[in-house]
């Protein structure tokens, strides 16, 4: 048997999965349990780091669990709620943006990661009724249909 990973009790501990789809309604798809109310300034800061990795990408299909997502399965990023099963030091323990770029292969360094959203500011509190990626400066608005044919 593999050595237990860093968090939680080994085996079927009864912990429930931390993801639930919220809605396919594009104006109401932020997980109220994990993402609503995050200061937009905090998302912006994390997004800036993500842009350094993968650049700005056009709007893509919603994430499987309803999170806002940009790009494609090959290269993209997605706003994700906290994963309670992760240890506090893990970037996914709190709200975060997962990013990936598998353009040149899967097993190269720096092709994936999670950028934590450090919540601390009070400016621009974001409600649960907008896609924060859209709300940020409008920089992601624009023609996107050519990026993901067949989605939506």
């Amino acid at each position: 048997m593999r050595k237990p990973v860093s968090c939680g009790v080994a085996g079927l501990g009864g912990a429930v999965h931390d993801r639930v789809i919220v809605s396919n309604n594009p104006v109401n798809y932020i997980d109220p349990d994990g993402l609503a109310g995050i200061p937009i300034s905090a998302i912006k800061k994390a997004l800036k780091e993500v842009y350094e990795r993968v650049g700005k990408l056009p709007k893509g299909k919603l994430g499987k669990w309803g999170s806002p997502q940009r790009g494609t399965p090959k290269k993209g990023y997605r706003l994700d709620p906290p994963h309670p099963n992760k240890p506090p030091c893990d970037p996914e323990a709190g709200p975060h943006i997962n990013w990936w770029d598998y353009t040149n292969g899967k097993n190269k360094p720096g092709v994936k990661g999670a950028e934590p959203i450090i919540v601390g500011g009070l400016l621009g509190l974001l409600g649960s009724l907008v896609d924060p990626f859209d709300a940020i400066s409008g920089e992601l608005a624009g023609p996107e249909d050519d990026m993901l044919p067949g989605t939506y």
Binding site: R2, A15, V16, H17, K61, P73, W100, Y102, G105, N107
Partner: protein, 148 residues
């Protein structure tokens, strides 16, 4: 499964063939959703998004496995759970509207070329619909035993 993964595999392994992966057609996916609905005792036309929510709600995290670790094998997880998969398994890529079927041994062997961390949240199950294994984008594994 996204074509780019097979292309990457071929690029990195030019002398090796990627195993056969077959995408289910829409009728077959309806059948899968209906089978899961029956198993969950919900309306037969329950959509994929709601099925996913129902399935995940009663799943349990298997905390001693992490799909991100080197040498991770799905077979080890199933063995630990005392689950014996059928020869063919389903891979759900989205909300039961994008499903592949492939040989379990191939899936197990080629897992690192199929599941891409950070991007992919997938579920696997077989035609018994007795269990469903969730493999999260961060490597977390969860299971829902539908036969219980």
């Amino acid at each position: 499964m996204d074509d780019f993964k097979i292309e990457l595999y071929k690029k990195e392994n030019p002398l090796s063939e990627f195993p056969q992966v077959t995408a289910l057609n829409s009728n077959d996916m309806v059948s899968v959703r209906q089978s899961l609905s029956k198993k969950l005792n919900v309306h037969i036309d329950t959509d994929g998004k709601n099925l996913l929510n129902l399935l995940v709600k009663d799943s349990s995290i298997i905390s001693n496995y992490d799909a991100c670790t080197t040498g991770f094998l799905v077979a080890d997880v199933l063995n630990y759970l005392e689950l014996v998969p059928k020869d063919k398994i389903y891979i759900n890529w989205y909300q039961f509207d994008d499903i592949d079927i492939m040989n379990f041994n191939d899936f197990n062997k080629y897992f690192e070329h199929i599941w891409f961390p950070s991007a992919d949240d997938i579920e696997i199950f077989d035609s018994t619909y007795d269990w469903i294994l969730f493999i999260s984008h961060n490597g977390s594994i969860s299971c829902n035993r539908l036969s219980a």
